[in-house]
Each structure stands twice: as C-alpha cells, then as structure tokens.
C-alpha cells in the first residue's frame, strides 16, 4: 500500500465512525424529544384531572368536608404544575395527595351509585381524566427509560453526545383509581386488562 491508499482507508474509517456517531446522536435526540412531548402530554392530563376534581368538588354532590378537601388538594395539585418555577418532577406528592383525597371522598361503588345524575356524570369525567393520567405517565416513563438506556452507552458517554441536556427522571405518583369504583372504560363499553 502506498501513502495515498492508507490515507483513503483512514478517511473511509473516519467517515464510517462519524456516520455512526451522527446516527447515534440523532437517535438520542429523537428519544429526548419523545420525552418532551410525553411530558407535555402528561402535564396536560394532570391538569385535566385536577380540573375534573375541582368540578366535582364545586358541584355540591359531595359532603361539605369532602368538597373542601378535594378542592384544596386539586388546587394544590394544579399549582404544583403551573406556579412559577414549578416542575413536573416535584409535583408527585401533590398529585398523590389528590388521588388519596378523592378516593376517600368517593367511598365505594354504592356511594357513587346513590349520587344524582350530575354527580355520576362528574365522577365519570374524573375517572376518564384519571385513566388518561395513568396512560400518559406510563408513556412518559417509557420515554424516560429509553433515554436513560441510550445515555448509559459507552460511546454516548465518552463523546458526551447528550451535551448539557439534563438526565430525565421517571415521574412517580400514586395514580391508583379505586378498584371498587366504575372504571373509566366501563361506560365506553370497553375493558382494560
């Protein structure tokens, strides 16, 4: 091999490696963007759930104590997302407390069955918003998991492909809809497994 051939092989190798790095960076960027859209969707669903809980609290279908406490916790859950400097990651406890308060305020299936039509409708809307929160949270955490896996790769770390983008973390909250109450999907004639 003469010098020109060696140079050609080196250039080819550099090009191949560069292309692989570029691909890897692209995939990482896509994964990051997926986290961003999943986060926007999750925040949207959490806000919708708080609003549904506020509607229920203000409808006069719960006892006054439950009304006040559900309204308080819904407000706290809402402001934990919308206040200046609020961040999704720190909103978990407020969201869990809303879940907890609503579960206590709604009681059992027969308590909901005894509500008037407006009450049952509002509970249905809340159940639906709640279900969407559980979906959005699962998708968000999956997206986060993907980024974390990609970023743990040796090449990604060595070449600092993630730049200064902070490492995303999963969103943890208690989003268990009371098992005993009508499920969000029941009224739509479908079942989830």
């Amino acid at each position: 091999m003469n010098g020109a051939e060696v140079a050609l092989i080196v250039i080819a190798a550099v090009l191949v490696v560069g292309w692989a790095v570029w691909l890897s960076a692209q995939r990482l960027d896509r994964a990051h963007r997926r986290v961003n859209t999943a986060q926007a969707s999750l925040v949207h669903q959490l806000v919708a759930r708080s609003v549904a809980a506020l509607d229920l609290a203000h409808a006069g279908v719960l006892d006054p104590v439950s009304s006040i406490l559900v309204a308080e916790s819904a407000r706290a859950a809402l402001t934990s997302l919308t206040d200046d400097g609020a961040r999704l990651t720190s909103s978990g406890p407020a969201q869990s407390e809303l879940s907890n308060t609503v579960r206590q305020a709604l009681g059992h299936r027969q308590d909901v069955a005894q509500m008037d039509e407006l009450g049952r409708e509002l509970v249905g809307e809340l159940a639906s918003a709640w279900y969407r929160v559980t979906l959005a949270r699962r998708f968000y955490n999956q997206a986060v998991g993907l980024v974390r896996r990609r970023r743990s790769g040796k090449a990604v770390r060595a070449l600092r492909l993630a730049g200064r983008t902070p490492m995303p973390i999963t969103f943890e909250m208690d989003d268990t809809w009371p098992e005993d109450l009508p499920q969000a999907t029941e009224s739509e004639g479908r079942t989830v497994s």
């Binding site: 609290a57 203000h58 006069g60 006892d63 006054p64 104590v65 439950s66 009304s67 006040i68 406490l69 309204a71 308080e72 916790s73 407000r75 706290a76 407390e97 907890n100 308060t101 206590q104 305020a105 709604l106 009681g107 059992h108 308590d111």
Partner: protein, 379 residues
Amino acid sequence: MRIGIVCPYSFDVPGGVQFHIRDLAGALIERGHSVSVLAPADSDTPVPDYVHTTGGSVPVHYNGSVARLAFGPMAAARTRRWLADGQFDVLHIHEPLPPSLGLLALWNADGPIVATFHSAQVHSRALSLARPVMRSQMEKIKGAIAVSEDARRTLVDHMGGDAVIIPNGVHVATFATARHRPEWSGQPGRPVVAFLGRLDEPRKGLDVLLRAVPTIRAALPGVRFLVAGRGDVQVKSLGADAAAVEILGPVDEDAKCGLLASADLYVAPHTGGESFGIVLVEAMSAGTGVVASDLGAFRRVLDDGALGTLFPTGDAEALARAVIGRLEDPEGTRQLTDAASAAVGRYDWSNVVQRIVAVYETVVQGHGEHGPEAGRWGG
C-alpha cells in the same frame, strides 16, 4: 345531661384539640354527665371507652400542616348513626370550620348545638368559595365558644356571628405539683431552657430559637436547651453550639409536666397560627418563667408582659436578649412567675368546665321553650 362531643382530629396523633376534648369529657363525666365522643381514629389505636370512632383517617395538608382527617361517605354514615343512637341533649362540636368531622357532624345534625372554635387563621381558598354553604351550616350553631380572642375574630371575620370566650382548660395542680427531674433541672451556671412542639413545623418556631443559641451561649456558656417534640431537626449547622442543644424527641404527658417544672425557662418562639397557647399556661402553672413571641394570643395569655417576657415574633436576636435577661435576673423572673401562678386559676378545668356547662344549659333551655324537637336529631 347526655352530651355528644365531636372531635375533628384523629386520636392516632394526639394534639391540643384532642387533649382538650379528652380532659373536657373527663371533667364532665366526673360531674355526672353522660358523654360520648365521636372522633376519627384507626381501629387499633387505644382510645377511652367513651370515644366512638369513625374509622380510618387520611393525612391531608390543611392550613399549613398535615392533619389526619375523616371524611367521605363512610365517615358521614357513621356520624349519622352516632347522632341517631346517641339521643343527645346537647351536641358539642369542636372546630366546625376546618373541613373535618366537626363540619360533617354539623351538616348532619340539627337541634341544640354548641360549637367551640379553637384555631385562629384559616387560609383556605376552598373554604372561602364555600362560604355561602358554610354560613347556612354555621347558623345551626346555637351557642358558639371561642378559646381565645383570636379564635373569636376568625369566626367573626369568616362566618359572621359572635362567640363567648372560654379559654382552654389546664389541670393547674398537675403542673404545680409535678416532680422535678434532676437531669432536666438547672444547676448554678447551667440554666435549662425548654422548647415543646413539633420540631419540623416552621410555625412552631424552633428555627428562631436555634438561631438565638449562639448569642445566648456567648453570654451564658453553661446554658442547656432541651427540645421536646415529634419530628426531625438538624442542629449540626450550629457547630460547637450544637452541644448545648439536647433533642429529647416526643415526650408523654408526664414527661412534659416534668420538663416544664424542671426547666428554668420555657420558650415559645411560634411564628403564627397559634390561637391560644396552652403550653404557656402549663408552664405558668408549673411555676416556670415564660419567654414568648408577641403573637396576639400569647400577649393576652401573658397579660402584655406582666406574666412573662415577650419578644418580636421571629426575631432571634430579640429572643436571645429576652432569654439572657430572664436568666440573669432570677429575682425579676420570680416576680413574674409568682404573678403567673396566681393568674392561671381562671384556666383551671374546675373553672372552665363550669362555664362550658353553663353554655350547654342556656342552649338546651332555649330549645325546651321554643322547639318541639329539643334533643331530637335529624339524620
């Protein structure tokens, strides 16, 4: 009389209102009344015989702290059954304003209702929004009692109406005769300053006291700070001064009496949210000097400084000066504690329970004359 008392907060985590209700029930039973107390509590929490529980409670953030409250359909159903079974001559609801069992009972009851308002400061947007509903509920209260001027003002501001002021009761003799504990007693050159209250609740003001520690120690190197209460606190940031701070953790009633009686000084550095200040009265009963922030409630208990020393709320330097002043002037402190010991008589349960029974009797009489339904409960 058959008296039904509603306690808003769980007996699982005892607090001021729960102790007040327990002592009130005890004092009423001693006088021959029949008493049933409805309260949230988990089934495995030991409670006195006369306490009827509504079952599990849920921890909820409310008014700046976490309270265990009972609400929802099950609590409502149990409340209705208790009212129906009890056939009470008078229903005494504590704290009907915060969203808890008191409000739930009020919602379900009708008849001779007495209510006691304990707390000052109600910051609740939801409560303000619910004001029209709340007013109609509050109108069911035939006799309103406030434990302090501050609690009365809260009632007037939020719901209209007025209340008679009957302070919280204290078993003065229990504190006056409490045994001193040598390990908590001050020695010459080693005075003891006591703090009582939740350690990690900002409005109890432990932080204000801790910030004053270096200044106090500079003037009185031997001083000891005994800190009793639930919760976590870090004193490492005090450096060398941390050695003067002893965290006792949660203490029972007996230890509380002992601590207050043994200490040279009790400090109440609360920053707000206090409506009465029962611990101040307990310290005064124990003959211990009191240094307190100048909250309205504390000013009134200390008679504007005639029974103890006040400092501007939240001002650690002023707290330090007040503590140093008291500890360096035992004669002046003794004059204050003597005056305080004489003044606490009006807070003694023997006195307080008579005034509460007088309210019951007035309300019941009114019903006997004007209502065919006296003593009957809807629900």
